[in-house]
Amino acid sequence: MSELYSEKLIEHFRNPKNAGEIKDADVRVTVGNPVCGDVMTFTMKVRREKDKEIIEDIKFKTFGCAAAIASSDILAELAKGKTIEEAKTLSYKDIVRELGGLPPVKVHCTQMAVDGLKKLIEEYERKKKRNHC
């Protein structure tokens, strides 16, 4: 595995397309901890299409290193347009692959982004259940 950031990672870090907040988001979550050096907040909007629930948009705000910021951005990109069920299968490996490799010490950043997505989905389903009851 590479010891260096890929060009792709650096591009996502410098010009993230999914940074920010969705004002009318369905869910909002935070993962990480400033003490440990990485904090990511994600907001997500979901739309229903027939019997499918599709991730319409995800935005992030991230405090962390370049890999954390780029991972957040890639995660949003990978998840967008997927159904909730599809999104559940995303793993940190998909992000690493999408970035074209990553220094081993940075892999935890991609995991944190995936944890963010998981938490978004959990939160979304918890809310849905509550609304149903």
Binding site: F13, V35, G64, C65, A66
Partner: protein, 391 residues
């Protein structure tokens, strides 16, 4: 179109001075002899090595001892600590150092602890200074070595080494070692006035090549070699000499002797400009290390910038062709905040947002102006995507 490039990471490594390269070149091209040989190839190499040694001795005013060439600051520090430790076991197994030494001192101490030595790590105050009372209290009958750095590489604190050394000599029989890697080339360093027994030097911090350094050892100091072998360096440090590196280091020392005053004045000026302007322009930014610039390594600046993480600052500045460093480093589980910033009492989340800007001999006024122009915008951009920033 070539992007503008501004190197402000001189505490990490310095550019090789072109005048240094000029004198190294012949020792790579045709004078590649081994100085341990008595034929003409060996003799011309030997002469060059000894001339370089004399320059380095002069630079640090070495009159009562010698300098021995090593592969750099890390080796010199490892040697000083382990060499004294193993050679003086009969006198004791206690060592004193500080919490803000370079990792090559701290991790050597950790290893020595595994071998049964005992190490006291002195605290520092919010600006990085040690406390004399704490040092005095730490001294014991079995203390064999005190190692305190001359200038801290992250926050630029100039430790009161002369006074500390006096105290140690007064109250104990311990040897005194100082790591002068950062100080050389940026301020006067005089082993006679400091009074130290051992001192570490690294060439690539003063416009010399990487992979070469030295250890000053005062006459009479009892120390084991770290590298045993063929008996080079008067049997103190074996291994075929890195002749080109040594010649380069000697030239770098010569240039320091000539140009230190001018360099220092310039570094002080740049340092002041950066500190004053950034603190004013970028809100919720804090200076780490001494605010009294007389007690700070010329050219060194270290800020904590709230709401953003250090590596991301470095990477974003890199996009503008500007090189700086951060104390924040990624491990495999999390970001590890700098041990120096933790030791001066920063909260981890503040330590994570640290950035070190360090000027050097080759920086110009234009470099500093460009940095000052770019930096605030980079911080704004990163803060705008940070969840910890409510602008």
């Amino acid at each position: 179109m070539d992007k503008r490039k501004v190197y402000l990471d001189n505490n990490s490594t310095t550019p090789l001075d072109p005048r240094v390269l000029d004198v190294m070149f012949p020792f790579l091209k045709e004078k590649w002899g081994n100085p341990n040989n008595i034929h003409v190839w060996g003799r011309e190499a030997r002469e060059a090595v000894e001339t370089a040694r004399e320059n380095i001795k002069r630079m640090i005013n070495c009159r009562d001892g010698n300098v021995y060439f090593t592969s750099g600051g890390t080796e010199s520090n490892n040697w000083a600590l382990k060499g004294i430790a193993f050679a003086n076991i009969d006198k004791g197994k206690h060592i004193i150092t500080t919490k803000i030494e370079h990792k090559c001192v701290l991790n050597t101490c950790k290893w020595l602890e595994k071998q049964g030595f005992e190490v006291t790590y002195l605290n520092v105050d919010r600006e990085g200074f040690i406390d004399f009372d704490e040092l005095e209290d730490a001294l014991r009958k079995d203390t064999i070595l005190v190692s305190i750095m001359l200038a801290n590489n992250e926050i630029g604190t100039l430790e009161p080494v002369r006074e500390a050394c006096e105290l140690v000599k007064d109250k104990s029989n311990a040897y005194f070692h100082t790591d002068a890697c950062q100080a050389i080339g940026k301020m006067e360093v005089d082993v006679e006035s400091l009074g130290v027994d051992l001192m570490t030097i690294s060439a690539h911090k003063f416009y010399g090549p990487k992979g070469i350094g030295a250890l000053f050892i005062r006459n009479g100091v009892k120390i084991d070699p770290l590298l045993h072998g063929g008996g080079q360096e008067k049997n103190m440090r074996s291994g075929t000499e890195n002749v080109a590196g040594i010649v380069g280091m000697g030239k770098a020392a010569e240039l320091v002797m000539k140009e230190l005053d001018a360099d220092k004045e310039k570094l002080r000026r740049f340092q002041k400009m950066i500190i004053e302007e950034i603190l004013e322009k970028v809100k919720r930014t804090h200076l780490n290390g001494p605010s009294d610039l007389e007690k700070r390594l010329p050219g060194n600046v270290n800020f904590s910038v709230e709401g953003v993480e250090g590596e991301s600052i470095v990477m974003m500045l890199d996009d503008y062709g500007i090189a700086v460093s951060t104390g924040s480093a990624c491990s495999s589980k999390q970001l590890i905040p700098s041990h120096v910033l933790m030791a001066i009492g920063l909260k981890p989340e503040v330590a994570h947002g640290s950035v070190r800007i360090s000027a050097g001999r080759f920086n110009t006024d234009e470099d500093i102006a460009y940095f000052l122009e770019v930096f605030p915008g980079v911080i704004s951009k990163l803060r705008s995507i940070s969840p910890l920033w409510q602008g």
